[in-house]
């Protein structure tokens, strides 16, 4: 981990495990998100490989029936909610405050709370494997399958996602306020780095999308635990309500995932092409437009439900419209590279690899947006191929790019480039081997979520290739983990600006000191650091004199509050309302303690700032 070189100075500072449990520092919370997200990514990846082992040969009997349903359900749920979201939040935490020249986020305490809620929710969900079986109603948990015909696993799904979702939602509010209120002097909205812009729009989507899943999970919970009839048609309920609410959340969710990847590309491509981003304003407005349209298309997941031709046509056209701002982005990235001095670092490889892959995923997306055609593709492997092309081929490649790019800023060490290239090529080739054949498997009629297929139907060889590809992706990820381990054993010697980059985070030492900026910088143009470089300045112009820096105090309360919800979650699942009471007392008790005892924070003394800055520049 990124140990800071400070000596313990104030009694407010903890060390070791206690430091990680109590930290409110956005950089450390970013690392916590990354470690937790990486752990869940490993779990979700393992589940994927087990699925591919079962589907490697026709008529296998390794993971069949309920076990296979549990694997697909947990693979989807884990990857979306517990792996993708936290790694995005890891990068947002690590990068956004630095890109806007802030000392911290707007609500450091809330930031920690968001992480611990997410983590405890994910843990709760995954303990279902050991407590009578994981949820098996699909990651979309359609009612009435989930409400009336599934075992206790779905209770874990409901409570786990509810707790994790609240955490994510709090994180969204935190980033919105941070970006609106805490930008450095001169950093107007139209000078914001693109990654921060996408973090901003993603947070807007989090804010307005997550309450919809909160409600859908509440309805499902009430149906399952308290005898409500929301999804029971015999009592006047309506199971389509679940589908609407789930996708009113679920579709913005996929833009929540992909927009930060767009932002990462918009940072990496200009840096390694040594050119400013082509069409910055168009990039900003297309991001906003994608975010807006993302709320207008949820029913394209429900074309075959029977909403009628008018609704299907409207949602189909709205879906196709999204291709326009996305196309603008693709062309702007290509024009950014055009004529640039391109350096193919691992980060750049991942970004460049993103482009054709994501275009394929986008193209199948437009194909799926045609309602009449969708009746053919529906619930087949074509859909599986499509969303893995946009989520893995898009978001995951983007996140890897961002990790290689910002790793030195997060940890003070450069990831190994040779291992990085092995990591990229194995993962990239493995990805296409896995998912490209699945388009054709789908067109040949292979349904998703079915645990086997018969021999001699023309599905054998493509399923085999797909499984080989999955193993290769696994190898790629292991190489990444190995790279992290190797890198972690080296000394922290990354320079402040290893890539000759353009934005504010590269003006401060790697890793960033606890207070980020000794002096708040003055921003004088788009690409703040590059502006100064072009003006021949060695460093940023400070906007304030050097002085003591006020910091928020560490606190164990966020951890305890999430433990309270964790306990209450089990209480609901097992109908042990004493546990619910105990959990509620812990959580609300901590809330009141937090509300009544004001945190005056503490100050980093001037001599310590001067010493830290001198050591970092040495």
């Amino acid at each position: 981990m990124a140990g800071h070189g400070h000596v313990a100075h104030s009694p407010k500072r903890h060390t070791g495990l206690m430091d990680w449990l109590t930290t409110v520092d956005h950089k450390k919370i970013g690392i916590l998100y990354l470690v937790a997200g990486g752990f869940f990514f490993l779990l979700g990846g393992l589940e994927a490989i087990l699925i591919r082992i079962q589907l490697m040969y026709p008529d296998s009997h390794i993971f069949i029936g309920a076990t296979f349903n549990e694997l697909t359900t947990m693979h989807g749920t884990t990857m979306i909610f517990l792996a993708a979201m936290p790694v995005i939040f890891a990068l947002m935490n690590a990068v956004v405050p630095l890109q806007i020249g802030a000392r911290d986020v707007a609500f450091p305490f809330l930031n920690a709370l968001g992480f611990w809620f997410f983590f405890m929710g994910g843990l709760l969900l995954n303990t279902s494997w050991f407590l009578g079986g994981a949820p098996d109603a699909g990651w979309t948990a359609y009612a009435p399958l989930s409400s009336a015909f599934s075992g206790r696993g779905v209770d874990f799904y409901v409570l786990g996602l509810q707790i994790a979702g609240i955490g994510t939602w709090l994180g969204g509010i935190n980033f919105l306020v941070t970006i609106i209120n805490m930008r450095a002097p001169g950093l107007t909205f139209m000078r914001l780095p693109m990654f921060t812009w996408t973090a901003f729009i993603t947070s807007v989507l989090v804010l307005f999308a997550f309450p919809a899943i909160t409600v859908s999970l509440v309805l499902l919970m009430f149906d399952r635990l308290f005898g409500a009839n929301f999804f029971d048609a015999s009592a006047g309920g309506n199971e389509v309500i679940w589908e609407h609410l789930f996708w009113i959340f679920g579709h913005p969710e996929v833009y929540i995932l992909i927009l930060p990847a767009f932002g990462i590309l918009s940072e990496v491509l200009p840096t390694f092409s040594k050119k400013r981003l082509f069409g910055y304003s168009a990039m900003v407005f297309s991001t906003v437009l994608i975010g807006f349209l993302g709320f207008m298309v949820w029913a394209h997941h429900m074309f075959t439900v029977g909403l009628g031709p008018v609704a299907n046509a409207i949602f189909g056209i709205a879906t196709m419209l999204i291709a326009i701002p996305t196309g603008i982005k693709i062309f702007n990235w290509l024009f950014t590279m055009w004529g640039g001095q391109i350096r193919f670092t691992t980060a750049m490889l991942y970004s460049v690899g993103f482009l054709p892959t994501f275009v394929i995923g986008g193209m199948t997306g437009v194909m799926l947006a045609v309602p009449t055609a969708d009746y053919q593709y529906h619930d087949s492997y074509f859909v599986v191929a499509h969303f893995h092309y946009v989520i893995v081929g898009g978001m995951v490649l983007g996140l890897f790019s961002g990790l290689y790019y910002w790793w030195p800023k997060m940890f003070g060490r450069m990831l190994n480039e040779t291992l990085g290239k092995w990591n990229f090529w194995t993962f990239f080739i493995g990805f296409h081997l896995t998912f490209f054949p699945q388009h054709f498997l789908g067109l040949l009629g292979m349904p998703r979520r079915v645990f086997t297929f018969q021999e001699g139907m023309g599905l054998d060889s493509m399923n085999f290739i797909s499984s080989i590809g999955a193993f290769l992706m696994g190898v790629g990820f292991i190489i990444f983990v190995w790279n992290v381990i190797v890198t972690n054993s080296k000394k922290q010697d990354a320079p402040a600006d290893p890539w000759d980059a353009r934005t504010l985070e590269w003006t401060i030492p790697s890793p960033a000191p606890e207070y980020n900026f000794a002096q708040t910088p003055l921003v004088r143009g788009l690409d703040a650091l590059w502006t100064e470089k072009m003006a021949g300045n060695k460093k940023m112009t400070p906007a304030e004199p050097l002085g003591e820096i006020h910091m928020p105090s560490a606190s164990i309360l966020p951890f305890l509050m999430s433990v309270g919800l964790f306990i209450a979650g089990y209480g609901f699942i097992y109908h042990m309302y004493v546990l619910v009471g105990i959990g509620a007392v812990i959580t609300f008790g901590c809330m009141f303690a937090r509300s009544f005892k004001d945190d005056p924070g503490w100050h980093v003394p001037l001599d310590e700032i001067e010493r830290t800055e001198k050591e970092a520049r040495a």
């Binding site: 609500f107 809330l110 609106i180 209120n181 859908s216 009430f222 409500a228 009839n229």
Partner: protein, 203 residues
């Protein structure tokens, strides 16, 4: 960013510090998310409001005089919380305590009526399980009631500590966002009164 306590309050003490500004903006965003939360509950209710199942129909169930009194109480409590904020802007601690104290009492009275109402309904066979209408009714109105309960506990906690802490740039944003929350609860109730009770009575 300092947290010194001064006896002279600045003109808008709730937004006088960056922390205060952050808190107020963050709270507005929180309420934005709450709008989606209640919007989803309303949409669900509207879809299921005629599915009475084995329970009584809404036309025979609801008693408008009772809900009218509850509405009057809650709307008045919004007014008293505004008077509390005005007292805060005048740096009048006892005024803040008085008006927010009255707000809390109104909130408790509202909750009392709601609990009484729910008891009556259960006796008449209108329960969570009597039909989809029952499920949607108790979830929507209950969510609102839980919000009122949360607000009552929150504001009670705030004014309990206020005599010791006094009015300053740390406590002012807390009082201000609590009053925003209270207005929001009130606004949601206006929609509940219209969509659940009035529409339930006519058809």
């Amino acid at each position: 960013m300092s947290t010194e306590v001064s006896t002279n309050l600045p003109p808008h003490p709730e937004k006088a510090t960056l922390e205060g500004k952050n808190k107020v903006l963050g709270f507005w965003l929180f309420l934005g998310g709450e709008v989606i939360l209640f919007g989803s509950l309303f949409a669900t209710f509207i879809a299921l409001r005629s599915s009475f199942g084995s329970g009584p129909a809404s036309q025979e169930l609801f008693s408008l005089p009772l809900t009218a009194v509850a509405t009057f109480i809650l709307l008045t409590s919004s007014l008293t919380s505004v008077l509390g904020i005005q007292a805060m802007h005048r740096n009048d601690l006892s005024g803040v305590l008085k008006w927010f104290g009255i707000t809390v009492l109104f909130g408790v009275a509202f909750l009392g009526l709601e609990i009484y109402e729910f008891f009556e309904y259960v006796h008449e066979g209108h329960t969570m399980s009597s039909g989809a209408f029952g499920s949607a009714f108790y979830t929507l109105v209950g969510f609102h009631g839980a919000h009122v309960l949360g607000g009552v506990c929150w504001i009670t906690g705030l004014i309990a500590k206020l005599p010791k802490k006094g009015l300053n740039v740390v406590t002012a944003p807390k009082i201000y966002v609590a009053s925003l929350y209270w207005h929001f609860i009130d606004l949601v109730w206006v929609f509940i009164f219209t969509v659940v009770y009035l529409m339930g009575k006519v058809g």
